[in-house]
Subunit: 382 residues, 2 copies
């Protein structure tokens, strides 16, 4: 298979933008990415998005955004895998170039949530779970994560205080990231005293609701160096799924789709977890951050909170985790998040991420849809 490169990235700040809809947000990210490649022609557009159908009454999003971003009458469509839509869109874009159909493809992600009341957004987010076997009985998506947080803390004997290191580090990292939604630091005490969302998950264990858009430009080996002086190679890419109905899972403290997708990406890139310098992992809730670090092979089961409390995975360590601030504090514009992560890791390897900088040649990005139901893992190399 020929090599595929990231040759352009563009991000919007994540936040509440009452004056910007899906098309305005996406055009902002797309135009930044296009500027990086000198407005060269893009041949196809793949968009990761979860909620335009359920919240914004808008389908046919690929064509709409291609038109509004001025990309012309190119092939364009939307890819949906709940919160993992961004990763699935990158996967699709990768295959469109690897197939030989195109040399230059834009992969975008966009989400618009803040115009709607929280209860409507929560209901739309819950569509990542099984509508007939789970939601029908009244559990929320946060409720499912709360069951897992309690099990993690009980099984590994981890205290509330120890769990709180995740949001503390994420907010600290995000405070330096100009694209982040929550640019303020928090203390363990503030996390523990924030309001309960679904016990034991508290407000500061949860990623915020926000709007945002991200765009990547992928290119074939043939044209990558013409379009960028600092192309970043997609050295490995893996995807896997799991039972959407959580009660079918054999183990709630490991997300098998993460393990499988990471194995695929590591094999393809011919690397091991210890080779990775910087990682952007999925942490919609505190407990998922820890479980993902363990499933990706960065840490032993149940040990991550204590290790992180001792300074492991902070800036300066290898790997540095979520220098962006993660979903927790950079924000989680659902279908766009997976594209943000890949863009951020690419910028780290190029050396121009405008927040906390990580030295290194190898990075990882992990995009999850649902409770580990659909996972895409990428390994990028400078």
């Amino acid at each position: 298979m020929s090599k595929i490169y990231i040759v352009g990235v563009g991000l919007t700040k994540i936040g509440r933008f009452f004056d910007k809809g899906l098309r305005e947000l996406f055009a902002e990210a797309a135009s930044k990415a296009l500027e990086e490649i000198g407005n060269e022609n893009v041949q196809a557009l793949i968009v990761g998005n979860m909620m335009s159908s359920s919240l914004s009454e808008q389908d046919n999003l690929g064509a709409l955004l291609a038109d509004h971003a001025g990309l012309g009458k190119i092939p364009a469509f939307k890819v949906e895998a709940a919160c993992g839509s961004g990763g699935a869109a990158v996967y699709t874009g990768y295959s469109l170039i690897a197939s030989g159909l195109f040399d230059v493809v834009m992969v975008g992600g966009v989400e618009k949530q803040t115009e709607y009341p929280t209860r409507i957004v929560s209901k739309a987010l819950a569509q990542a779970a099984d509508a007939e076997y789970e939601l029908f009985y009244g559990i929320s998506f946060t409720g499912l994560n709360a069951l897992i947080m309690r099990l993690y803390m009980d099984t590994y004997n981890v205290s509330r205080d120890e769990m709180s290191v995740w949001p503390v580090l994420m907010h600290k990292n995000a405070s330096k990231n100009p694209y982040a939604q929550l640019r303020f630091e928090v203390t363990k005490d503030q996390v523990a005293k924030s309001i309960v969302i679904a016990d034991p998950i508290r407000l500061l264990d949860s990623s915020p609701i926000g709007d945002g858009a991200a765009a990547l430009i992928l290119a074939s080996e043939k044209v990558a160096r013409k379009l960028s002086d600092t192309p970043i190679e997609v050295a490995g890419i893996g995807m896997a799924t799991d039972h959407i109905y959580v009660a079918y899972r054999e183990n709630l403290l490991s997300l098998e789709a993460t393990v499988l997708s990471a194995k695929g990406a590591y094999r393809m890139a011919k690397i091991e977890p210890k080779d990775i310098d910087v990682a952007e992992v999925h942490d919609a809730f505190t407990v998922l951050g820890f479980i993902n670090m363990e499933d990706l092979g960065f840490s032993e089961r149940g040990k991550t909170p204590k290790l992180m409390d001792e300074g492991r995975f902070w800036p300066g360590d290898k790997p540095t985790v979520n220098p962006s601030g993660g979903l927790k504090a950079r924000g989680h514009p659902v279908g766009a998040t997976g594209v943000y992560q890949v863009a951020e890791v690419a910028m780290q390897l190029r050396g121009d991420f405008p927040g906390i900088k990580v030295e290194g040649d190898v990075g990882l990005a992990q995009s999850i849809g649902g409770l580990g139901t659909t996972v895409t893992t990428l390994v990028l190399k400078r």
Copy 2:
């Protein structure tokens, strides 16, 4: 680029199934397709669907369906391009094999509409148009098509009686198709006297609301002949988009995305329109059937109704159009329709379509999302 083949197909009957949800419908189609290849392992699943988000409160559809169809923890996600979702899913599946990532990929399509009141389904269907520039002002999707039907009849001086040949032929063809939703014949008089939906569109000019699922198995050249004695080659594939906002179009009597996507498919397959023996084209409304025949190069502008009235495009002619009965009478389970069309053409070329049979070696399938906003065209060869 290496050759890609269709090695298995499975369809459900289209209709109102109050006892079957998305997962049951899809599993039925998937298991039929799997039987055709001897239940060999499928390595990835791509699902075309428009309305699971807006009607069924279900996202993460790829993983859900892979799980329920017993495909295991394989890469899986949904592709959305409104009513053209099925075509876009086939396009994605094609690229996943052409890329070398996989040898065997299932492409599915599924839609579940009949559980909901018609006004809710109509609203969900209208999301194929521009929510902010069109729907906000109150026009329905049928309303947009009605404007075009009136313009077509006025510009080319076509009478109501002449337009009615399309539904007459479609219902006649569908009456022989065991998978079709509307298996009864209609007369021109019945079409002209059916109730007005959006003047001049009448009930019998419109495709019905229905549930259905379709599955295709695509395979690489390496494995195709091991899995099927009658592999059908995807000889050409093209996709294009257009302004979603119809007022931006230069010409309302031609869908430029059809012209562009067909040009791409013809070039890749090294054929011309006259080489095609059988075509399944998009005819959500009568006028779209005629315009598509013209944009695909089968007929001159404005001449199709009269030609068809004289027997052109009926069974026995080349090309025979919509031997399935088309969207009009086979039915239009939105996101699944594009997959049905490809499966039907593949069965025609294999010689085992269980309705009207067409002799020949070359077929075409055309999948449209919105009012010609996203179009995928495929050329298949025996």
